[in-house]
Amino acid sequence: MSLEWMAWTLPTAIFFATIAALLIAMTVWQASAPSIERRGLLPIATTPGDRLFLGLLGSAYIHLAWIGLFDLSLWWALVISAVYMTALMRWG
């Protein structure tokens, strides 16, 4: 089966592999130490899975805003996203 039609590139492969790895890691984490919903800085009670979703969604918007508003390197958006996600997972 040829996968040429999917037009894979190295950056997108790394991107999806990272997300898959995150999901697997979160599943293992949940199985070994079951989490409960809690309220942090966000106005709603969230599970770690909810916070991961919000982190990824927010990161996507951070990258889009960076592309739309600034001419600087996209790596800065990645750094901001990483900080945002870490903070959200920890205190969100």
Binding site: W5, A7, T9, T12, F16, L57, Y61, I67, G68
Partner: protein, 289 residues
């Protein structure tokens, strides 16, 4: 919460996972791959990074289509949800009227979407259409092929006629599921009809209304077939909604920009669906916190 004891049930989810992988995840990954490349043909492509995203984010026509789309979906929700609830409240609760109203409501939902466009083209034609001739006969000039406002009114009318029944059916199902005891208690307390609606019917309909709002938002945000058949996105660009513009892009073989556009589109829908879901989950639960 205890540990997972029996994980066999997860195997039952596997078929769904495979289906979703083939119908959604793999296409989505492909779109992401396309969005960072300039594709000339099979095996002939170059990596362009975020160029298409920069193009799309500064594209005036996309901005216009986006605002038009928000206006459209906002109006759809503002009209269809209250109207659907009102219809459900007015529907008979027993007797032969129930079946008659259910069948009448279901009719628009059974018609194929492109046929709906065709029906409304003929219905609103100023020369032979029932509605078109009637409005012009009243002295108003009405022609959805040349006046943007008329085109908008026609598309909104069509959308409301087509999808309000879905909201009404969902709300009716929610209303019928409320135990009679609640209403008896309300009568004993001498509650007004408004109080019954506000404190019994509306909270009890939260679940079905969540589904109705999510379905109507996502569907109206993705609307394609009906306005495409009815107006083709015109006159000018006045009814070119996001999906119509997206198809114009992708049929011009600009798969890279179209893919970048699709991802932005997807992110907007994801964000708004999540917001609506959260908002509706928390409606009326303020006393629990």
């Amino acid at each position: 919460m205890g540990k997972w004891e029996d994980n066999k049930a997860w195997f039952l989810v596997l078929p769904v996972f495979l289906l979703v992988a083939i119908s959604a995840i793999i296409p989505l990954m492909t779109v992401v791959n396309y969005s960072v490349q300039d594709i000339f043909g099979p095996g002939d492509r170059i990596f362009v990074g975020t160029e298409w995203f920069e193009d799309m984010l500064s594209n005036r026509r996309l901005h216009d289509a986006l605002w038009r789309q928000f206006l459209f979906s906002g109006l759809v929700l503002l009209i269809e949800i209250p109207l659907g609830v009102l219809i459900a409240l007015a529907m008979p609760k027993r007797g032969w009227g129930v079946s008659v109203s259910l069948v009448l409501l279901a009719l628009p939902l059974l018609i194929p979407w492109n046929v709906i466009g065709t029906i409304w083209i003929i219905f609103t034609r100023p020369d032979i259409g029932l509605l078109g001739v009637a409005i012009n006969g009243l002295g108003f000039e009405f022609d959805h092929t040349s006046a943007p406002l008329d085109a908008w009114i026609t598309v909104m009318l069509m959308e409301v006629w087509h999808w309000t029944p879905l909201v009404a059916l969902l709300a009716y199902a929610g209303l019928r599921a409320i135990p009679e005891a609640y209403f008896q208690a309300a009568r004993i307390d001498g509650a007004s009809p408004w109080a019954v609606f506000r404190y019994i019917q509306l909270p009890k309909m939260r679940g079905v209304l969540t589904i109705a709002v999510l379905l109507r938002f996502m569907d109206s945000f993705l609307i394609y077939a009906e306005p495409f058949v009815l107006t083709g996105g015109g006159p000018g660009n006045s009814t070119t909604f996001l999906s119509i513009y997206l198809v114009k892009l992708s049929t011009a073989m600009d798969v890279g920009p179209a893919a970048a556009f699709s991802i932005i589109y997807f992110l907007i829908i994801l964000l708004f669906s999540w917001l609506f879901y959260q908002a509706l989950q928390n409606v009326g639960t303020g006393d629990r916190q």
